[in-house]
C-alpha cells in the first residue's frame, strides 16, 4: 500500500505530459519574433514566482508580501560575484537559490513568530529594507546604477529552455512535496495552526520546509532574471509593486492552493497585459494601451469578488456557468 503511494508520487498525468511536450516543441514549430519569445520567457518567470509563492501562501497559509526579497537576493547572488571578482553570473544558478534559502531562513526566525496580517507586513518590510540597503550601499552593489553584464546569447531560445527547466523543477517539486506527508502538514497549518500544533505537528519545522522550497525557486528565478536581462538594479528586483504584488496577484487569479493555478495565472496576466499593450492588435484606439496594467488589476478585483478560488480552483463553477449560458442560448 505504502509502496504504491510512493510510486504514485512521480506520476504525471496525461494533460501535464501534453503541456510539457508542447512547451518543449513550441520553439521548434513556430518561428516567433524575438518580442514574442521574450514574452514566453516572462510567462515562465512568473510561473516560477507564482508557484513558489503559492507553496508558502496558498498551501501553508503564510501569505508573504515580500517575495521580491528572495527574487532580488537571487539576482544579486548572480550579479555581485561578477561585479567584484568577474565570476560569470551563470554560477548564480547554483548560488542564487541557496542564498535565497539562507535569507529565507534568517528572515523566517523573525517573521514566523508573526501571524496573518503581521506576517504579511513583516515580509513586506523585510523586502523594502533590502531594497533600500542595496540602493544605498554603493561599495556593495553599485547602488542605483545597477550591475550590467553582456548576455551570453543573442537568441532567446536557449534562455527559454533554461527557464523551462527551472519551471519544471518548481512545479514538480511542489507536486511531489504536496503529495508527501509534509504536504498534508502544510495544509493543516494553513487551516488551523493551533490545532496543527496541538496534534503534534512541529509547525515551525514545516513552515521552514515550505520556506526553503519556496525561497529556493524564487532565488533561482532571480538569478535567471539577471542572466537573461544582463542587468540588475535594486528598484527592479526588489520592487514592491512589480515583483511582490504581481506575484501575489498571479497566484490569486490562477487559484490559491492549486498546483497549476499560478501557472494559469501567469499566462492570463501576460495575455491580458499584452492584449491591452498592443491595443488588441491595433483594433482598439491607441489610448487603450496605456491601461494595460490597470486592466490586470481590475481582473484581479473581479476574480476576488466572483471566483474566490481563482480560475483553476473554481474551474467547475466557471465551466458550469458557461454551460448554463450555452443551454439558455439554445
Amino acid at each position: 500500500m505504502y509502496r504504491n503511494e510512493k510510486i504514485k508520487l512521480f506520476v504525471i498525468n496525461r494533460i501535464e505530459w501534453i503541456i510539457l511536450a508542447s512547451a518543449i516543441a513550441t520553439p521548434f514549430i513556430f518561428n516567433f519574433s524575438p518580442y514574442f519569445q521574450g514574452l514566453l520567457i516572462f510567462v515562465l518567470l512568473w510561473v516560477i514566482m507564482g508557484t513558489s509563492w503559492n507553496l508558502l501562501a496558498g498551501f501553508t497559509g503564510q501569505v508573504s508580501f515580500g517575495h521580491a526579497a528572495y527574487f532580488g537576493i537571487g539576482a544579486y547572488a548572480a550579479a555581485l560575484p561578477y561585479l567584484h571578482w568577474g565570476i560569470s553570473p551563470w554560477w548564480g544558478l547554483l548560488t542564487g537559490g541557496i542564498t535565497a534559502v539562507i535569507l529565507g531562513y534568517v528572515l523566517g526566525i523573525m517573521v514566523f513568530r508573526l501571524r496573518g496580517p503581521y506576517f504579511a507586513l513583516g515580509t513586506l518590510a523585510s523586502a523594502e529594507i533590502l531594497r533600500i540597503i542595496f540602493g544605498e550601499e554603493k561599495w556593495l552593489s553599485n547602488g542605483h546604477n545597477g550591475i550590467l553584464y553582456m548576455t551570453t546569447w543573442v537568441s532567446k531560445y536557449p534562455y527559454y529552455f533554461v527557464a523551462l527547466i527551472l519551471t519544471i523543477g518548481t512545479i514538480l517539486s511542489v507536486k511531489i512535496v504536496m503529495k508527501s506527508k509534509a504536504g498534508y502538514y502544510f495544509l493543516s497549518i494553513r487551516e488551523d495552526e493551533d490545532a496543527a500544533e496541538a496534534i503534534g505537528i512541529d509547525t515551525k519545522k514545516y513552515k521552514n520546509i515550505a520556506t526553503i522550497i519556496s525561497t529556493f525557486w524564487a532565488g533561482m528565478a532571480g538569478a535567471f532574471y539577471m542572466i537573461y536581462m544582463g542587468f540588475v538594479d535594486p528598484e527592479t528586483v526588489f520592487a514592491l509593486h512589480n515583483i511582490s504584488i504581481i506575484t501575489i496577484l498571479v497566484g490569486i487569479i490562477g487559484g490559491v492552493g492549486t498546483i497549476w493555478g499560478p501557472a494559469v495565472g501567469a499566462v492570463i496576466m501576460v495575455l491580458v497585459q499584452e492584449l491591452f499593450r498592443s491595443s488588441f492588435f491595433g483594433l482598439a484606439p491607441d489610448w487603450v494601451s496605456r491601461f494595460h496594467a490597470m486592466a490586470f488589476g481590475l481582473l484581479v478585483i473581479f476574480v476576488i469578488l466572483y471566483v474566490a478560488g481563482g480560475v483553476v480552483g473554481d474551474w467547475d463553477l466557471i465551466a458550469k456557468k458557461f454551460r448554463l449560458k450555452k443551454s439558455a442560448e439554445q
Binding site: 501562501a57 496558498g58 497559509g61 501569505v63 523573525m110 513568530r113 508573526l114 496573518g116 496580517p117 503581521y118 504579511a120 507586513l121 513583516g122 513586506l124 518590510a125 523585510s126 523594502e128 529594507i129 533600500i132 540597503i133 540602493g135 544605498e136 494553513r190 514592491l240 509593486h241 504584488i245 501575489i248 496577484l249 490569486i252 490559491v256 492552493g257 496605456r290 491601461f291 496594467a293 490597470m294 490586470f296 488589476g297 481590475l298 484581479v300 478585483i301 476576488i304 469578488l305 474566490a308 478560488g309 480552483g313
Partner: protein, 291 residues
Amino acid sequence: MDLVFQTLVYGLLISGLYAMIGIGMTLIMGVLGIINLAHGQLMMVAMYITWVLWQYTGIDPYLSIFITIPFIFFLGQGISQYLLYPLIKKESILPENQVLMTVGIGVVLVELIRAIFSSDYRSVRTSYTDASIHLGPIFLNVPLAIAFLISIFFTIGLFILLTKTDLGRSIRATAQDRSAATLMGISVKKITILTYGIGSALVGAAGVLLLPVYYLFPDVGPIFTVKAFVITLLGGLGSPIGAIIGGLVLGVSETVGATYLSMGYRDAIGLVIFLLVLVFLPGGLKRITKI
C-alpha cells in the same frame, strides 16, 4: 545644538500629518479588521485631484480640501460597499481575502492615475511654498506649519466625533465587538462602510496638506501605505491615541535619521523600527502607554 532643535521641530511638524494618516488606518483596522493596503493610494488620488484643481483652475491647495475630502470620502465608501463588504461573508481559502482585495484596489488606483497623468513628477508651487518663519535660530516652514495646525484640528475633531457623538460610539462599539454591536441595534454594515469612508477622507486630507511641500507621482501611494502601517503598528492596532504616538515616533525618528545617518535611509528607518516592534514589542507602544 540648533541643528538638533531644527531636526526635532521638523519631525514634530511632519508627525502631525503622519498621525492623521495613522488614525485613518487604525480606524479601518479596528472596525474592518484588515490592514488597508490601498491607504497611501487613496492619498495619492487626493493629491492628484488637488494638483488638477490647482493646475487648471488655480484653486489654492488648502481651499481645495473642501472638494477633495468629500470626493475621497465617497470613493472610500464606494470601495468598501461594493468591493470589501461583500467579501466578509464569502468563503475563501486564505483569510486575508479582503487585504488582497485592497492590494488589487491599490494597483488599479495607481495604474489608473499613471495611465491618465503618466509617471512624471509633479508638484504644486504656491507663493508660500518656500516661505518660512524664524523662531530664534529655528526655521519653521510655513506650509508644513499650516499642515500641522490643520491636522491637529482634524484630529481633535475626530476625537470629539469618536467620544461625544452617537455615531462615534457606534464606531467604537463595532470595533470592540461586532456581534454585540449588532445586538445593540447598530447597523454594522452602515458603520463599516462609513468608517472606511472616514479613514479615506483623513488620509486624503493628509495628502492635500502634504502636497505643497512634497512632490507627486503615481508611486507615491505605496510609500505612504508602508508608512501608514508602520505608524499603526507602532501605536498598537486599533488605537487612535496610539496612532498619534506612532506618528510622532516615526516622524521624529525619520527626520533624525535623515539628518544624522543618510538621506537615503530615511524610508528604511521606519521599517527597521517596525520590524523591531513586531518582534520585541507585539502590541505596539500600547503595551507601554496602556492607552
